[in-house]
């Protein structure tokens, strides 16, 4: 049974693209949160109750194998930060703990603005 999303939860978005973060000040760029063009969703993982190692393991097992590229880092963001932008977070398993950020506006410029704001609120963790 899927556990309902709590506003106190943190979500992780794994980053496999070197141009999606700034090594100079360890911050995330907006493209990290832009929705998937095919389904209009941003794929994330719920990390409540997990150790740091267990979170990285999710990236290595569930995200990295899809591309022959290593996980370079992750952006952690609070559920409340996402919801205050009018977006929804819906659990979508399998894989375990997977969820999607949904409800993005149609207009790309508006999507970009929200993604910029999410990036500003997120915390970058380098692998």
């Amino acid at each position: 049974m899927l556990v309902p999303i709590a506003t106190s939860e943190t979500l992780s978005r794994f980053i496999l693209q070197k141009n999606w973060y700034r090594p100079s000040d360890s911050t995330v760029k907006y493209a990290t949160f832009m929705p998937n063009p095919n389904n209009g969703q941003t794929s994330v993982f719920r990390i409540y109750g997990l150790s740091d190692k267990e979170v990285w393991d999710i990236g290595e097992l569930e995200v990295a194998p899809r591309l022959v590229k290593p996980v370079l880092g992750r952006a952690d963001i609070g559920v409340s930060n996402v919801m205050e932008k009018g977006l929804k977070i819906l659990p979508s398993e399998p894989p375990k703990r997977h969820a999607n950020i949904e409800g993005w506006p149609e207009e790309k410029s508006e999507q970009t603005l929200i993604a910029i704001e999410l990036a500003a609120k997120s915390i970058f963790l380098k692998r």
């Binding site: 070197k18 141009n19 998937n36 899809r66 790309k108 508006e110 970009t112 704001e117």
Partner: protein
């Protein structure tokens, strides 16, 4: 990707063809133009080449579907061309942007001056620029036609940062 390097503010470096006349003026103007040209080469072109090369590199890296590890659309040649055209059209007094591949196959040109001081202009080979900016508590977003030169809206938003 390297960070933007702010260029010296040279908005005052301009010359009007109506401020003088005669042979001395023409000689001075020629000397001035040559000096500016050399300065631009030294200060800008090196960095410009670097950024244009970054676009080429990015287009090679992101030419296959799913390049982001999710379901990203490949970046098309038209998009790369348009990104380079944008960069070449930038007035000299703005720093070069960081190049950001987008999951929808677009290329974002991003200027960031720290948290909540960000402007993004995105192209996707459709002669339009999708832009969004966060300037402290102020926000903006929209779409502009990308004709022969950069739309004034883009320049005005960049001025909010630089």
């Amino acid at each position: 990707m390297s960070a933007p390097i702010p260029r010296t503010d040279c908005t005052s470096i301009s010359i009007s063809p109506t401020i003088g006349f005669g042979s001395e003026f023409n000689t001075l103007k020629k000397f001035y133009d040559q000096a500016i040209s050399e300065w631009r080469k030294a200060e800008t072109l090196g960095r410009l080449d670097e950024v244009l090369n970054s676009v080429d590199e990015l287009c090679r890296e992101c030419s296959l579907e799913g390049w982001d590890g999710y379901d990203a659309i490949p970046i098309a040649e038209d998009t790369c061309y348009e990104a380079k055209r944008f960069i070449k059209s930038l007035p000299i007094n703005f720093p070069m942007p960081e190049i950001v591949p987008e999951p929808n196959g677009g290329i974002g040109l991003e200027w960031s001056k720290g948290n909540r001081q960000v402007f993004v202009a995105s192209v996707s080979g459709k002669t339009q620029i999708v832009y969004a900016g966060l300037f402290g508590i102020n926000k903006t977003h929209g779409t502009e036609y990308f004709g022969d030169s950069l739309p004034s809206t883009i320049i005005e938003n960049l001025r909010r940062l630089y």
